[in-house]
């Protein structure tokens, strides 16, 4: 039996093609994934991301606990309102999940984790907490829903739909959040565009969704969310990294904070071995569409596509691939490789990520498509 968010009825009514996503029945698209993608790049679209789990971490040891649990350092969140992207590692240094942690107040944090590993994440957090006897309350908040409004017109659209939110959010900086009587509003997202993620009581979500729709924000499915995040160079947990890959093998080494002697889960393992593989961006030069699990031949050895798609903004196929490092180094952008596209070895090139930033191509020699 698939789980439903409180927006499920509205999705079906709006023509959503519902699919099983990590045990949740969610819209893949509402007719055209490509049009939804373009709306987010050029205007404003919204996503129901209520399947993701908010976990509140509160108590006198909250900061101490998170500094031990997470590979990035929440001590960077000096004042309430700041947010941080981090991996949560297992003792062998593999990625259990990637998440955003919000500093809400004194010893009060909120962690937003992916839907698939959510239950395992909470169990893991509780185990780490009780092993070290941290004085912390860990509360999964299934009573909350989350709506992401994304695109160059996203912020104005929210203010058009909910004028009362403007004073609190107009000066909100990127990667910051604010608590309002209507819920937590964060200037974060998973598309490479500006916008907000709004965390609110699940029962309030349909009314906000309807108000946003009335402000011409286009409902978008998880299909467009996937092509948008890939263009923006953002990893997808379960596809691009999991418990068997380290941050350095997943292009996430920048999120691991080793600036102090902080003891965090996985640190010893990360420091005892050097990464053998790297995650790189790939563009297909030949014809076809890159898909996950396709085989890759690079000068440094054989690897595999972890996420692949047709990029609506660029009009070509792009991907992430995990390939061997060459003498410890990440193979550099411009390196020609081959990908096995439907039984045919096809020319491709290692490419810098992100592929697209704020609506524009960042690939040299290519212009952003419509």
């Amino acid at each position: 039996m698939l789980r439903h968010t409180t927006l499920h009825g509205l999705h079906v009514e709006w023509g959503g093609r519902m699919v099983d996503f990590s045990g949740w029945e969610m819209p893949a698209h509402f007719g055209s994934q490509l049009e939804e993608h373009r709306h987010v790049r050029q205007d404003a679209g919204m996503f129901d991301v209520s399947h993701m789990l908010n976990v509140d971490v509160v108590g006198e040891d909250a900061q101490k606990f998170l500094r031990h649990l997470l590979a990035n350092d929440v001590a960077k969140l000096a004042s309430p309102g700041q947010a941080l992207y981090s991996c949560m590692l297992n003792p062998s240094g593999g990625v259990l999940d990637d998440l955003i942690v919000y500093h809400l107040g004194t010893q009060r944090f909120r962690v937003v984790v992916n839907a698939g590993p959510a239950d395992d994440d909470v169990a893991w957090m509780r185990r780490v907490c009780s092993n070290a006897r941290f004085a912390v309350e860990i509360s999964p908040r299934r009573d909350l829903a989350m709506i992401a409004v994304q695109g160059p017109r996203a912020r104005e659209s929210l203010w058009a739909a909910r004028g009362e939110l403007k004073p609190a959010t107009a000066s909100l900086s990127r990667f910051h959040a604010v608590e309002t009587p209507h819920g937590m509003i964060a200037r974060t997202g998973y598309t490479g565009e500006d916008g907000f993620e709004i965390v609110l009581p699940a029962d309030d979500a349909p009314e906000l969704w309807t108000a946003l729709r009335a402000a011409d924000v286009v409902p978008c499915g998880l299909g467009a969310r996937d092509t948008l995040r890939l263009e923006a160079g953002m990893n997808l947990y379960g596809a691009d990294m999991d418990g068997s890959t380290t941050p350095a093998e997943s292009a996430l080494d920048w999120t691991v904070d080793r600036t102090t002697d902080r003891d965090f889960v996985g640190r010893a393992a990360l420091e005892s071995a050097s990464p053998a593989r790297a995650l790189v961006g790939v563009r297909l030069d030949g014809r076809g569409v890159l898909r996950s699990h396709m085989r890759v031949r690079a000068p440094s050895g054989e690897g595999m596509v972890t996420s692949g798609t047709f990029s609506p903004s660029l009009g070509i196929s792009i991907a992430f691939a995990r390939i061997p490092r060459s003498g410890g180094d990440i193979p550099s952008p411009g390196t020609p490789i081959e990908v096995e596209v439907r039984d045919r070895w096809t020319a491709a090139t290692i490419t810098k990520v992100p592929f697209v930033r704020h609506g524009s191509s960042v690939l040299g020699g290519l212009t952003g498509g419509a």
Partner: protein, 127 residues
């Protein structure tokens, strides 16, 4: 979903139209394009190849997945609809106008043995 009465069909969701020159046009049905989602690439057409019925003659890639287009009957692939190179979305917009490949059937009678609209509807409705 639209299933024109004047065409023949396969259980793999191709439609088939007999042309005046003795060839047949092969495309994908309205049901097929709806299930695939936005088509972003059509190609790998085996023009010049002689195929057995059920052999792949081209490929259609959507945002979601790649799908083979099968020869509905044995025959030689004589043409690929090159307008689909630049406009693959025509398969979504006008599935029954946008043919993908043309075949010269080895045996014309094979074409008449394919599913008619009612039989296809019965099969597709169950899936």
């Amino acid at each position: 979903m639209n299933i024109p009465a004047n065409l023949r069909y396969t259980d793999t969701h191709e439609w088939i139209r007999k042309e005046d020159d003795g060839t047949i046009s092969v495309g994908i049905t309205d049901i097929a394009q709806d299930r695939l989602g936005d088509v972003v690439f059509v190609g790998d057409a085996k023009v010049g190849a002689t195929l057995a019925a059920g052999e792949a003659g081209a490929v259609v890639e959507s945002v979601k997945a790649a799908s083979d287009i099968y020869a509905p009957v044995a025959g030689e692939v004589v043409a690929f609809n090159e307008t689909l190179d630049a406009e693959p979305q025509r398969l979504n917009e006008q599935p029954y106008d946008a043919w993908i490949i043309r075949l010269r059937p080895a045996n014309v009678a094979d074409v008449d043995a394919l599913l008619d609209a009612a039989a296809y509807e019965a099969i597709a409705g169950e899936a």
